[in-house]
Subunit: 275 residues, 2 copies
Amino acid sequence: VAGPSILVNGEPGETVSVLDRGFQYGDGIFETIRVADGRPDFWERHMARLASGCERLRLPAPDGDLLRCEAGQLCEASRAGVLKIVVTRGIGGRGYRLPEKADPTRVVALFAAPGYPESFVREGVRARFCRARLSDQPMLAGLKHLNRLDQVMARGEWSDETIQEGLMCDAANNMIEGTMTNVFIVRGGALHTPDLSRCGVLGIMRGIVLDLAQQLGIETEIRAIPRDEMKSAAEIFLTNSVIGIWPVRELEGRDYRLGDVTRKLIEVLARLATD
Amino acid sequence: VAGPSILVNGEPGETVSVLDRGFQYGDGIFETIRVADGRPDFWERHMARLASGCERLRLPAPDGDLLRCEAGQLCEASRAGVLKIVVTRGIGGRGYRLPEKADPTRVVALFAAPGYPESFVREGVRARFCRARLSDQPMLAGLKHLNRLDQVMARGEWSDETIQEGLMCDAANNMIEGTMTNVFIVRGGALHTPDLSRCGVLGIMRGIVLDLAQQLGIETEIRAIPRDEMKSAAEIFLTNSVIGIWPVRELEGRDYRLGDVTRKLIEVLARLATD
């Protein structure tokens, strides 16, 4: 398998400095973007989140036109792939103190598409609960930052290839998200998704799905969802920018049906993506 | 200022792969070790913590003899410095899944000594409280892992050069630690330091100080310390492997005296270090 094509600060490269604060502290953020027919999907939304993440981390945001140009350079020949953009606070000395004038590191990398079978969207996936809990940290909640040990530890809990995702709770046993996805449930025809003000990533696809639901007249609610409530959900699905929407057909041995709300959202999203 | 001398997997180098999980996820741990007269201080304690951290992260620990050899190679000519050892889960593909057989990345770097004035030990330092709270995460508590955004954000709160440390609380307003130090208070002649079972780093110098206190017959207590209790502390001091012990002479405008317990511990530690 060929490795990704990578630009580091605009130049083809494969390395960053050992002294980069991304490596030393996870001091940075990233975006993961689906690429189809040479174009990154939902570019504006990703750029808006990147800018807002940089602001929250007090990190100078990379120039949008420059990023678009670099992304375009990598993606133009790609029929299907995943673009990952990483922005860190750049090289620093030893110690946490922020450099007076940060010179951020910008990595743009195009990976091969993961090649998930189409059945994951059409028929759904199997999921489990993870024992690993998400860190409670309102200061960083919502951000797609580089401190991802919670997810690494959670993903390390299973190796069964037939289980596609592990769901994570907070310390209070509220359902928050999957290791790489946001989670939605359907109850009484309405769409519910966890509140992410204390932990979790505000996924781009989560935002798109909430917007689509609104356009379709589906009621949406963002709130604390106790883990036990998952059992009585009529439908469950997972979202992220690369997979779109995956219905959950089985969670911890319990079967769920691929219901009307999930089906409708998948259909509308597919039209959106091919427009 | 000359940069550090660095060995990456045993070879002189300054870079790691963009795909290193240390850079992508902060998936690794580190040690920061004081070097004096060509020798890393308290080597065995640091190696024991590194091994235990690797075990908790399910990361193959680097060979101890190899690390000692590499550290020795860098340190032998150094009168005073700081050795930083970073171990990550190495290069991985896109996604959190643990590689079936991890090939860890090992970075050993010798930095110049920070050159803090001696007055910090003799007279004490000024400290503040940070608004940034520590993430609540028992799964990672105690570890010196590479997810350090809490500390980065906290350190970004002040630029006043006369303030040497910022103290951080958890969400429940318990005092936990400084951005780069552990914290101790003295009350009624006894030494109290925060419980770190939900957040914080189990500092090597913290362990040494607790051991010294025991040897000196000073009562020690590890417990939740509400932030407000700091006001009534008879003595406060900070510890880490590089600074040793820094008395706090001022915290948030309130003065503290350099008392007998702190003084005694500084004295005994100095003897230990020169033995």
